[in-house]
Point group: C2
Chain length 352, copies 2
Amino acid sequence: MARLSSGDRPTVKDVAAVAGVSATTVSRVLAGNYPVAATTRGRVMRAVKQLDYVANAQARALVGGGPRTVAFIIRDLVGPLFAYIGQGVEQQTTAEGRLCLVCTHNGDPDRELELIELMREQQAEAVVLVGGGVRSAANLERMTQLANALDRTGSRLVLCGRPPIGPDVPSTVVEYDNEGGAFAATNYLISLGHRQIAIIGVGEPEHTTTKARFGGYTRAHKAHGLKVAKQRVLPGAYERESGYQQTKGLLARGVPFTAIFAITDVVASGVLFALHEAGLRVPEDVSVIGYDDIPLAADLTPGLSTVHLPHEELGRTAIRLALHRDEYALDQHVVLGTHLVVRGSTGPVPHK
Amino acid sequence: MARLSSGDRPTVKDVAAVAGVSATTVSRVLAGNYPVAATTRGRVMRAVKQLDYVANAQARALVGGGPRTVAFIIRDLVGPLFAYIGQGVEQQTTAEGRLCLVCTHNGDPDRELELIELMREQQAEAVVLVGGGVRSAANLERMTQLANALDRTGSRLVLCGRPPIGPDVPSTVVEYDNEGGAFAATNYLISLGHRQIAIIGVGEPEHTTTKARFGGYTRAHKAHGLKVAKQRVLPGAYERESGYQQTKGLLARGVPFTAIFAITDVVASGVLFALHEAGLRVPEDVSVIGYDDIPLAADLTPGLSTVHLPHEELGRTAIRLALHRDEYALDQHVVLGTHLVVRGSTGPVPHK
DNA sequence: TTGTAGGCGTTATCAC
DNA sequence: GTGATAACGCCTACAA
């Protein structure tokens, strides 16, 4: 009874004392995996209620019990893209009976590495890295070390929406076909007759996502015997503002173009705004295509043509593969398909 | 050396053995809070590197060390509103040197209770409940018990964007002025001359958020001596689709209205779409106002007038208050202000 | 400056 | 069916 007013939690011992049994018996009743006399069980349960006993997950974990945890490392929680992947990760994690630890690194690759270390201490069963990033050689090397370290202890590095680190690095990789989607988008614009297609958002050429999407854009041009004009390849971050500014700059410099491929939908929303401001009609004067198919895309006016990514599926698949890698002979590198979604922002090239 | 190939993690003992010192010394070197000879420290560090030793956070937690964790319980991760609050929670949690455990309940109040139990086992230092919810008497009672239980063990129930459970329930509450914002929004429409203002999204009248916003709408009417017409109070969930369907229904039934107050911006986006489809101009024919000021609001055409909520600040404040409640004499119930954001979707009442 | 002993809360093992 | 005991990995007295 003294326990009830005390500031610290009651333990199995306290319950045992109240119920007049041993700690072992309490543990057995709670676990329910061992025969215990009905009357004893009743006494124990009553004591549990009375003391409002709650097991200590940390102590449990130490002896190998309790739910395991999956770490989820992401840039931030606000991007609609990240949110959907996170949703998939969290849902599957919960469905698998695991807990979900979330950390953000705000785009800092070093912080990302630190967080992996931290999650290693936390005994995470899998460490999920979401979204593309800039990769230096040093970063890749450290990442390789960490992947191996995790693997050695039965954990797993999971790359979600980002290409593999290297050929022999133990990791689970689930990405989408960024290059293919960009190819399809550019190809579609070309098939509509566009020959002067600007691309906006190539600010960090070494960013894995940027690289792949720009690669698809380039390949589509090559496939049609078209040259990529430098004046139509514009930098900028993955932000609305950069879409807006770059479009204004394009117009100000008088660079000719009939279509704009924005590297993300968010960038595209800024592009649309700048065009609208300049009195240009979409798609009559300029066609615009985005990438990601975030919810916003359908709500823009006109509806934004874009490349759809299976966000939630990405997260779900990643967790599923990582947690069941020993059960089935699952391929630990999956590339999910992307597809073009045509809405109102794209149309045939305008007549001169 | 044998350890290096083994599947399980090296412990302080292994490091001690390699370094030729005792486990205690290793612990001291790692903690850095106790004098250790420089040479010894060197040997230990080398052994740590060699074995790639990583501390076991669970064992640490058991003896009172290591980072504490804050639990973050939310409906889902995809809503833009939740995302921003989550961002605030996560950032502040990290800034305070804590880890962030995330769980979703998909709107199921029972699941929410279960999760609180689970987080209690996890020894969470604070359990943050985000967003409004439906509250039955039984739910409130159980919630009260849990709040007390958490309080008794030095933890804390934190209500974020939701009203207090009861007068004497130990908890930290940070909410925004839903009623006041709804009053301001409705009042603004009335001041523009509108007298037939429909409200869409009152589907769950007992939902705490719905209740407060509908309350503000009602109070504004009363303040101007206007009556709330039942035919203009429409149900519907917090979804785009429901905004769309309810608006169509309103038009089909021929209910007169000159303005629509959508209970959330997401609902408003559906409203705008339905009006557009029906050939009605906004704001010339109908004014529309939303609530939340999610990023989408600014991107809609026309820009959506709405009530701004300080999302991130909400999350940050909640964590700050909860974690420092003993240090300062902080008020554990804060109501953050909301304010009207006027964009293009509202205008004077059309002439007959 | 370093080492030894004990304990955190739980469960598994082995005896009764 | 039930209970003592050891062990998980770490840290903090207390000794030396």
